[in-house]
């Protein structure tokens, strides 16, 4: 998977779970402040990302991820370690 595909899939997951149109989701979007996520949705997002990419995210570390861009970085790092993310 390339990074732009990862970004697109993350935006799709966020859009579906938070019910926000994809075009309104930017890398700089804050899940709570910009996209209106409640804290239970932060947990649901983690679960949705884990399912989408077949990964496990550390609960505490993943809750420190506040923006879409940070999620791309965080998940990208896990996928890279698994050899699933290309340059």
């Amino acid at each position: 998977m390339k990074k732009d595909e990862l970004e697109a899939r993350i935006k799709k997951v966020v859009s579906s779970l938070l019910k926000v149109p994809e075009e309104k989701i930017a890398l700089s979007s804050d899940f709570v402040k910009d996209l209106g996520a409640e804290s239970i949705q932060s947990l649901e997002l983690v679960a949705a990302f884990e399912r989408e990419f077949g990964i496990e995210m550390d609960e505490e570390e993943s809750l420190e991820v506040k923006t879409v861009g940070k999620a791309v970085e965080f998940i990208g790092k896990i996928l890279k370690e698994k050899g699933k993310l290309g340059e």
């Binding site: 239970i40 947990l43 649901e44 399912r51 809750l63």
Partner: protein
């Protein structure tokens, strides 16, 4: 009731009822130590949530013997499907996402309580308050007629008006920043019920302000006046009164001077309801340090079943005490 007696009393009552209390933060050393002590002393039946292999390895490294402790592994649990379906009744999420979510230790532990497989949950040593509150609200839910989760402290004051080790309940000193009148009324009612359940007293609940029965006028006071009215109407079985200044609530001589009709609460209050988190939090800390009071809490209230939100800095002994309180709340 004396301070030592208070915690001892909770432990004795917990022992008699031997409740099932779930601890989802099984990767925390303090939790494992507390669980071991709770089991050894037969205070509660502690239940850990997590992967057995990892927990045993972790406890082996720490030299904590967890044999005979019940451990539930979410991924292998026969209850998982039931919990997933139950979660989906509350939240509109795909089954796959709900499944992934409920496999997480905190959610699984909360669902055990929700579904009646445990009597209460003790968490918060490794999870932020916002997450604990939201998980509790979403899974376990609120008590039938209560609109919000709130928190209370049990304050044990070394001496007050000649009385040794006076016990007071302070609420809300940790969770709700600026409750409206309806919410403040619910905090008062929850706190009264908590005091009854835990302390076995007929609580005298005072809603505090900087005015006593109209001695001053301001929108901030009006909120407390409204809250008092709502709370009295909503639960007439409780002794609730206000708005009172702190001295009117606590000191009989002041109450007699300031009020024409004393009622049941003025001068005798033992449950103090603060109008917002500024006042509640400031007062609990001032009482703790200036009066050398012992503060137990914050303990959550308002959920359909008992939930604790431990402070991140809680010690093993704090966790044992809180687990005993959660067990007594569930009786």
């Amino acid at each position: 009731m004396k301070e030592m007696d208070l915690i001892q009393n909770f432990k004795e009552r917990a022992k008699k009822n031997f409740r099932r209390i779930v601890f989802p933060e099984s990767r925390d050393e303090r939790i494992l130590m507390a669980v071991k002590e709770l089991a050894k002393e037969k205070i509660v039946i502690p239940i850990l949530v997590g992967e057995k292999e990892k927990i045993y390895q972790f406890s082996k490294d720490l030299k904590i013997d967890l044999s005979n402790i019940e451990i539930h592994e979410p991924k292998k649990s026969e209850n998982l499907e039931r919990y997933v379906l139950s979660y989906m009744k509350k939240r509109e999420v795909e089954k796959g996402i709900a499944g992934q979510l409920v496999k997480k230790n905190l959610l699984f532990g909360a669902m055990m309580v929700k579904e009646g497989d445990a009597d209460g949950i003790v968490a918060g040593a490794a999870n932020p308050t916002a997450i604990i509150l939201q998980v509790a609200r979403t899974t376990i839910g609120l008590a039938a007629d209560i609109s919000l989760l709130s928190s209370f402290f049990i304050m044990v004051i070394p001496e007050f008006s000649g009385e040794k080790e006076k016990i007071l309940i302070y609420a809300d000193a940790a969770v709700n920043i600026d409750p409206d009148a309806q919410q403040l009324a619910d905090i008062a009612i929850s706190s009264g019920r908590t005091a009854k359940q835990l302390l076995g007293i007929e609580p005298k609940i005072a809603l505090l302000s900087f005015s006593t029965k109209g001695s001053a006028s301001h929108p901030l006071i009006e909120k407390v006046v409204q809250a008092t009215k709502i709370a009295k109407e909503k639960d007439s079985s409780l002794f609730i009164d206000g708005e009172f200044q702190g001295d009117t609530a606590l000191v009989p001589d002041v109450a007699k001077k300031k009020l024409k009709e004393l009622g049941e609460v003025a001068g005798r209050a033992d449950v103090l309801i603060f109008p917002d988190l500024n006042s509640g939090n400031i007062c609990y800390k001032l009482t703790q340090y200036l009066a050398k009071a012992k503060a137990y809490g914050p303990i959550l209230q308002g959920a359909a079943k008992p939930v604790s939100d431990l402070s991140r800095g809680a010690s093993k002994d704090d966790i044992v005490d809180i687990a005993s309180i959660v067990a007594v709340e569930s009786i």
